[in-house]
C-alpha cells in the first residue's frame, strides 16, 4: 500500500507482533505510535485478508500488517490494544470473523436481534438486496442490580434535531453508575457502496458519508486514490484544498461553541454561535455554490477552479465578531463554571482507547495530522497546534477556540500563496502503487480520518474502501468520561466532546475493564519541565478582558488539574493577567 511499510503475518504471529508494538513503539502517549484501524479486504474469490494500519509517529510511513485468518478466526488483540476492540467487533458482525479471546464479544454494528448468519458482507454487497428485517432486541449490558438504581433508556429518537442513537444510563440519584451508548442505528454500509464505483463517483459518495465533514472525507478519499495511481494534484488545487478544509473546520467549530453554550443555558451565546456558523456557511456558498463545500474535490485535484479574490474580505468581516464572541464566552463565569472539571479524560485513557482530534489534544496528546503527516499543502503554511492539559470540557472548548484562530490564519496565508494554474491533473508523477492500493489521511474537524482504497485490477474502479472516521474512535472513548460523573453534566459533557468526556481522577482506582494487558486508568504524570511545541494557552485576562497568551509550565498545569476546591470556581480567571503595563498593579 502506498505510503506504508507492509508486512505479512500469520495469525499465530499476531499476538507477538502486538507485544513488540508495545515494546518498540512504547506504551506511553509520547511515543506517538498507535494502531489506527483494522479491516477486512476480500483479496481473492474465497479468501479475505485482515489489514491492520498503524501509525509509527510523526513523519514516519504508516505500517500495514496483512493477516489471512485461519478458518475465519484470528486471535483478538483487544486485550493488548484496547482501541482495536470496536474494529474487531465490526469485522465479526459484518464479515462473520471470530476473534478468539475478545473481552467484549457482543454485537456492535449489527444490533441484537438482527440476522447474523450469514453475515451481511460474507458475500459481495448487493444494493438490490432487501433491507434486513428483524425484531429489535434489547442491547447487551452488564447486569446492574441494586435497590435504588434507576435505568434510563434515552433515544434513539431524542429531543431536538439530532442524529439517532440510544443512550442507556444506570444511575443512583444524580450519579451515573454505568453508561452504554447504543450507536449504529444509522449503519448504512457506506464502505460497501464504494465497491464497483468509478474513481470520480467515489468522491461524490465520500462527501455523503458525513455531511458536515464533506471536505475531509472527499479529500482523504482523493488523496488515497492519488497515492494508488501515482497522481499528484497541481499546486493550486492543493492550496485550494487547504482553504476548503479550514473553512469546514471553521463552521463546525463555531457550531460546536453555539451548541456548548446551549447546554450551559446561554441563549444569546447559542444564537450568536449559530449565527456565526451561518455566516461562514454563506461564505462557503458564495465561494463554491455549496454550503457544505461539496462537488469540488476529486482524485487528481478539483473539478473546477475557484475565484478566491473576495474571500479575505469576507473573512475580515466576521473575524472581529468571532474574536469578540470567543472572548465573551471565556469571560462568562456561569459558562466556565459548568465546563471546568466536567468530563475529565485522562491522558493515558485518551491514548489507550484511541481518542483523536480536539479531544485528545485537550488531554495533552500533541498530535495533528496536518503537522505530523502533512498533506495537501499544509507543509507550506505556518500554524501551531493548540494543546491543553486539563482534559475537561473547558479544555476541549479552548482547543477548538484556538483552532478557530489558527484556521483563519491558515486561510489568510494560503490565499496569499495561491497562484493561478491548473487544478486537475491525471498524469502520473510517480509510479502507481503496484497493488493499486492507497492510504489517505486528513485531520478532520473531529480528528484523524483515514481512507484505505483498493483499486480493481485495471485501476478504473474501486474494489474496497475502508473509512476510519474520527467519531468511531471518539465514541469508544466517551463512556470513560461519563461513568462516575453526574446526570446534570451529561449534556455538557456530550456537547463538549461533540462526542465527549471524563473519568474524574481522585475518586479511587477504577476497576480495569480490559484485563491484565491494559495499563489501567491512572493519569499519566506530566513529565517535569517537558516542553511541548505550541504549549501556550490563550486565556482571557481578568483585568482588561482581552486575550493573553500564557506559556504553560508544569506548575500551571498542576494547578489547573488539581482537585477543585470545595466550591468550584473558575479560579483561573482571577489569576491570569496579560502583560499590559497599564494594569500591572
Amino acid at each position: 500500500m502506498r505510503h506504508c511499510d507492509t508486512i505479512r503475518l500469520t495469525p499465530a504471529e499476531l499476538p507477538a507482533a502486538a507485544d513488540s508494538l508495545l515494546s518498540v513503539l512504547g506504551d506511553t502517549p509520547s511515543a506517538h505510535g498507535r494502531m489506527q484501524m483494522a479491516y477486512v479486504c476480500r483479496c481473492a474469490a474465497d479468501a479475505v485478508d485482515v489489514i491492520y494500519v498503524l501509525s509509527q509517529g510523526a513523519n514516519q510511513p504508516y505500517k500495514v500488517w496483512r493477516v489471512r485468518p485461519d478458518d475465519n478466526a484470528l486471535p483478538s488483540l483487544a486485550n493488548k490494544l484496547p482501541l482495536l476492540g470496536w474494529y474487531e467487533r465490526e469485522m465479526a458482525d459484518l464479515y462473520g470473523l471470530r476473534f478468539d479471546g475478545h473481552p467484549e464479544p457482543h454485537p456492535l454494528v449489527l444490533h441484537e436481534g438482527m440476522p447474523r448468519d450469514p453475515a451481511p458482507l460474507a458475500h459481495r454487497f448487493d444494493v438490490q438486496a432487501a433491507a434486513l428485517d428483524f425484531t429489535p432486541q434489547p442491547p447487551t449490558v452488564p447486569q446492574v442490580l441494586g435497590p435504588d438504581i434507576q435505568r434510563l433508556p434515552f433515544g434513539p429518537v431524542r429531543a431536538d434535531i439530532v442524529e439517532s442513537a440510544q443512550f442507556l444510563f444506570f444511575y443512583i440519584g444524580e450519579g451515573i453508575l454505568h453508561y452504554h451508548p447504543r450507536l449504529f442505528y444509522k449503519h448504512r454500509a457506506m464502505e460497501s457502496r464504494f465497491e464497483g464505483q468509478t474513481l470520480r463517483a467515489g468522491a461524490v459518495l465520500a462527501e455523503r458519508v458525513s455531511g458536515i465533514d464533506s471536505v475531509a472525507h472527499a479529500l482523504a478519499y482523493a488523496q488515497a486514490v492519488e497515492g494508488a495511481m501515482g497522481w499528484r494534484a497541481p499546486p493550486r488545487a492543493r492550496y485550494l484544498r487547504v482553504i476548503l478544509a479550514e473553512l469546514e473546520r471553521l463552521y463546525n467549530h463555531l457550531h460546536y461553541l453555539g451548541h456548548l453554550a446551549k447546554t450551559t443555558t446561554l441563549k444569546v451565546a447559542e444564537a450568536e454561535g449559530h449565527l456565526l456558523e451561518e455566516r461562514v456557511k454563506q461564505i462557503n456558498a458564495r465561494l463554491t455554490g455549496s454550503r457544505f463545500l461539496r462537488g469540488l474535490i476529486t482524485p487528481g485535484g478539483l473539478r473546477r477552479d475557484l475565484d478566491i479574490s473576495g474571500l479575505d474580505k469576507a473573512l475580515d468581516a466576521i473575524t472581529a465578531d468571532i474574536d469578540s464572541y470567543l472572548l465573551r464566552l471565556e469571560n462568562t463565569r456561569s459558562h466556565l463554571d459548568r465546563l471546568m472539571t466536567t468530563g475529565t479524560l485522562p491522558r493515558q485513557v485518551a491514548f489507550d482507547q484511541g481518542a483523536t482530534g480536539p479531544i485528545e489534544r485537550a488531554s495533552d496528546l500533541d498530535r495533528d495530522l496536518r503537522r505530523d503527516h502533512p498533506y495537501a499543502n499544509y507543509e507550506k503554511v505556518r500554524f501551531s497546534v493548540p494543546v491543553q492539559q486539563a482534559g475537561d470540557a473547558h479544555a476541549r472548548s479552548l482547543v477548538r477556540m484556538e483552532e478557530i484562530h489558527e484556521s483563519l490564519a491558515i486561510i489568510r496565508q494560503t490565499i496569499g500563496r495561491t497562484k493561478p494554474g491548473e487544478v486537475l491533473r491525471f498524469e502520473p508523477m510517480e509510479e502507481p502503487d503496484p497493488q493499486g492500493e492507497g492510504l489517505g489521511w486528513v485531520e478532520a474537524t473531529r480528528g484523524g480520518l483515514l481512507y484505505a482504497v483498493h483499486l480493481s485490477a485495471d485501476r478504473s474502479r474501486l474494489s474496497r474502501v475502508k473509512i476510519k472516521d474520527p467519531s468511531f474512535s471518539n465514541w469508544r472513548v466517551f463512556p470513560f468520561t461519563v461513568e462516575d460523573s453526574n446526570m446534570m453534566d451529561y449534556a455538557i459533557n456530550e456537547a463538549s466532546s461533540a462526542c465527549p468526556s471524563p473519568v474524574p481522577t481522585g475518586k479511587g482506582e477504577r476497576p480495569c475493564r480490559y484485563g491484565p494487558g491494559w495499563a489501567g486508568t491512572k493519569a499519566a504524570p506530566l513529565p517535569p519541565g517537558r516542553s511541548v511545541p505550541g504549549t501556550t494557552v490563550r486565556m482571557a485576562c481578568s483585568v482588561c478582558r482581552g486575550w493573553t497568551r500564557r506559556a504553560v509550565s508544569p506548575a500551571t498545569v498542576d494547578a489547573a488539574i488539581a482537585p477543585p476546591p470545595a466550591r468550584r470556581r473558575p479560579s483561573r480567571c482571577a489569576t491570569v493577567a496579560c502583560s499590559s503595563t497599564t494594569h500591572a498593579a
Binding site: P120, F134, P136, V157, R188, R294
Partner: protein, 209 residues
Amino acid sequence: MQLDYARCVGCQLCTEVCPEGAFSVSHDWAFAVRDKADLLNPGRVAAAPQPADDSADATALAAEIKAFGRSLHIRHVDAGSCNGCESELQALLNPFYNLHRLGIFFTPSPRFADLLLVTGPVTAAMREPLLRTYEAMPQPRWVMAAGTCATGGGTNGGGYACHQGLDGILPVDVWLPGCPPNPAALIEALLLLLRQRAQRVHGGVYEHA
C-alpha cells in the same frame, strides 16, 4: 432518458459526462412537491404541467390547518442521514432563518407533533423507531420526506442496511429532494404544506416564479 429529482443528489456529474450536453447546471432550489410523480421528468416528451386538481383535498386540509391556528409543530427523525440535513434543519433555528417567526416549532415529543419530518434513507435499525414515532403522533398528522435519501434513497439507499427512502414505509405529504435541501428550501416546503406557497415543480420541470 429520464430525470428523477427524487433520486438526484446534485453532484452535477451528469453535466460533465453527458456527450450531448443534455444537462446543464441550474440554480433551482425549491423542489418540494406534494405528489412524488411531480419530481420525475419523463424525458424529451414535453412535460405537461399538471394543474392542481386536489381542490377537495385542499379544502379538507385547509380546515385542518385552521384547527391548528396556523402553528405547526414538527418532530424530526433522523433515519440514517449523513447529518447534512440535520445541519440545515438546525440552521432553521438560527437568527438568520428564525423559523419561529412563522409559528413553526420543533417539539421533543411526537405526542405534540403535527408533522413528522424524516431525513435519511431509513436504515434497517431505524425503521421500527420511525414507525413507532409515527404511531405516537395524534391525528391529523403529516409526514415530510426531507433530503434525497428520504425521497428516493439517493446514493445511500438499498442493500441490507437501508431502505430506499420513505416509499412504502409511511404516507408522505410533502417530498423535498436536495442533498441537503438548503434552509430556504426547507422553509418553502413547510409553507407548501401549510398552503402558503405554491408548488414550483410539476412533471419534473421547475417553474420560475
